[in-house]
Symmetry: C2
DNA sequence: TTCTACGGACGAACAGCGTTCGTGTCAAGT
DNA sequence: ACTTGACACGAACGCTGTTCGTCCGTAGAA
C-alpha cells in the first residue's frame, strides 16, 4: 500500500510493525532535573510511597529503565528530591542577641517545609543528607548557635540532635497525614476519630496497674502536634542555655 | 501394586499424585505466638527487611496465606513483634531523689533493647505503640518524672518527646548497622571508611561559603553514636530540670 | 559524503513483595 | 455417621527496584 520513496520525513501513514515509539516520542530530552521535578510532583500529589521508579517513568511517558541513565538508583533519586525540597527553606542572618529564637525559627522553618511535602521526612531519617542545601542548613544553624555563645563542641552536637528531632517529628506528623489521606476522611473527622480511640483506650485501662497513665490521661492527650513539637524544641533550647550560662566549666 | 484395603492409616508407600503435603506436615499448629517467634528469629538473623510474610511463612514450612488466619496483616505482625521485644526492657522503681538518673536509665534501657534487635526501631517510628509492654514503659517513665516533681502536663509531654528521641536515635543507629552488614565489612572497617569519607567531605568544602562548618569540622565529627545519644538525653533532662526548679510559675 | 562508534532510550524479564480467592482437609459437634 | 466450621494453603494479582540486551539517532572520523 504505502509507496517506498517519499523522503525520510514524509507522513507515511502506517508501516506499523517497525514503528516503535509513536505515542511517547519527541519529548523533552529526559534530564536529571526533569526526573526530580516529576518525582516532586508525584510526591506532592500522592505521597512518598507513590514515588516509584515506574511511576515517575510513566509520568514521563517512558519505562523505568530509562531513568537509570540519569540517576544511579532510587536512593539517589530520593536524595536529590530531598535536597530540592530543602532549597525552599529560608534562613535568618545570625543575631547573637536572638540565638534562642533563631534556633526555633530554623527548626520551625525546616519542619514546615518538610511537612509541606507529604512524607518526604522519611528520607533524611534513613540517611545523612549531604546535598548542597543540607550543607547550607548545617552552616546556618551552626552559625546561629556559635553566635549565641554556645561552646563549639556543644553547638556541633546540638546541630545533629536538632536535625534528628525536627526530622523525626516531621515524619511522625506525616504518618497521620498519610493515614488520613488513605482513610478518605476529612482531616478534622480523622483527628476526632483518632483522639476518640486513644481517649477510650486510656480511660479503659485498669487503674490499679496503670495509675499514673489513667490519672493523667487528660494531660497525655492534650495538645496537638504543633504544641508538642514546640515543647520538645523548648526542652532542647533550655538544655542548650544551661551550657551557655556555665560555659566556663562544662 | 498396592492392595486396596489396609485400613485408612496404614503405611501406604506412595499414591504420590494426591499426597499434598508430605514434607511440611504434622507441624506445630501455627499459632500467633509461633509466628511472632519466627519473625523475631528472622529479624535478629537478617534484619527487618527480611521479615516478610513470605519469609516467615517459609521458615514455618508453609505459604504466606496461612499467616493471615492468625495475623490480620503485616502491620499487626510488626506491632506484635515490637511488643514482644519491648518485653525485654527492665524498669526501675521510681525514686524521687534520682529522677534525672532514672530518666536516663530508662532511655538507655529502651535504646539498648531496640538496638539489640536489628532495625526494629523503624517500627515504632511508623505508628503509636499500644501493646501491653508499651503501656508498661509509658507508666513507668511517667511515674519517674512525676516522682521527680515534674509538673504533670510537662511530664506527660516529656514522655512523648523522650520516646520520639530514643526511637529515632535507635533507628538512625540501626541504619549504620544495616549498611555495614550489607557491605560485608567488619564494623571497625566500615566505621573507619565512613568517617574518612565524611572527614574528606567536610575538609574539601569551600571555606568562604561554609566558614563555621569547615572551621569546626573536628567538633562536628567527634563522638560516636553513644556520645551523641547521651548528649541529647542530657539536653532533654536539663530542659526538664528547668521546669522543676520553677515549678510554681510555668 | 559515508562509515563507525557511542551514549541515551527502553522492552522485557527477574526475583521479590503484601494480600486475596477458592479450594482442600481434618476434627469436633450433632 | 454426617454435617459444619475453622484452619491451611496453592495460585494468582498487581506492585516493587533493578539489569540485560537491543535499538536508534547523532557526532566525529575517514
Amino acid at each position: 500500500m504505502a509507496t517506498v520513496d517519499q523522503g525520510p520525513d514524509a507522513e507515511i501513514p502506517a508501516p506499523p510493525w517497525k514503528r516503535r515509539r509513536p505515542p511517547a516520542k519527541a519529548r523533552q530530552p529526559l534530564s536529571q532535573d526533569l526526573i526530580v521535578d516529576t518525582a516532586l510532583r508525584v510526591l506532592d500529589a500522592e505521597g512518598l510511597d507513590a514515588v516509584s521508579m515506574r511511576r515517575v517513568a510513566q509520568e514521563l511517558g517512558t519505562g523505568p529503565a530509562s531513568l537509570y541513565a540519569h540517576v544511579s538508583n532510587k536512593e539517589e533519586l530520593l536524595e536529590l528530591l530531598l535536597d530540592r525540597v530543602s532549597g525552599e527553606v529560608s534562613l535568618p542572618e545570625p543575631d547573637p542577641a536572638r540565638w534562642r529564637e533563631q534556633v526555633k525559627e530554623v527548626a520551625h522553618e525546616i519542619h514546615q517545609v518538610l511537612s509541606a511535602h507529604a512524607d518526604i521526612a522519611r528520607v533524611p531519617l534513613g540517611m545523612i543528607p549531604t546535598g548542597p542545601n543540607a550543607l547550607r542548613l548545617n552552616e546556618r544553624l551552626l552559625g546561629v548557635l556559635l553566635a549565641g555563645g554556645v561552646p563549639p563542641q556543644i553547638a556541633a552536637w546540638a546541630v545533629d540532635r536538632i536535625y534528628l528531632y525536627v526530622n523525626s517529628d516531621a515524619y511522625e506528623g506525616s504518618i497521620h497525614v498519610t493515614k488520613q489521606r488513605a482513610s478518605g476522611l476529612e482531616p478534622a473527622e480523622y483527628m476526632a476519630g483518632f483522639l476518640g480511640q486513644v481517649r477510650e483506650f486510656f480511660t479503659s485501662l485498669p487503674a490499679d496497674r496503670f495509675p499514673a497513665t489513667v490519672r493523667h490521661a487528660p494531660e497525655l492527650m492534650s495538645g496537638d502536634g504543633e504544641d508538642r513539637f514546640e515543647f520538645g524544641l523548648e526542652l532542647l533550647v533550655r538544655g542548650l542555655e544551661s551550657y551557655v550560662r556555665g560555659a566556663g566549666k562544662d
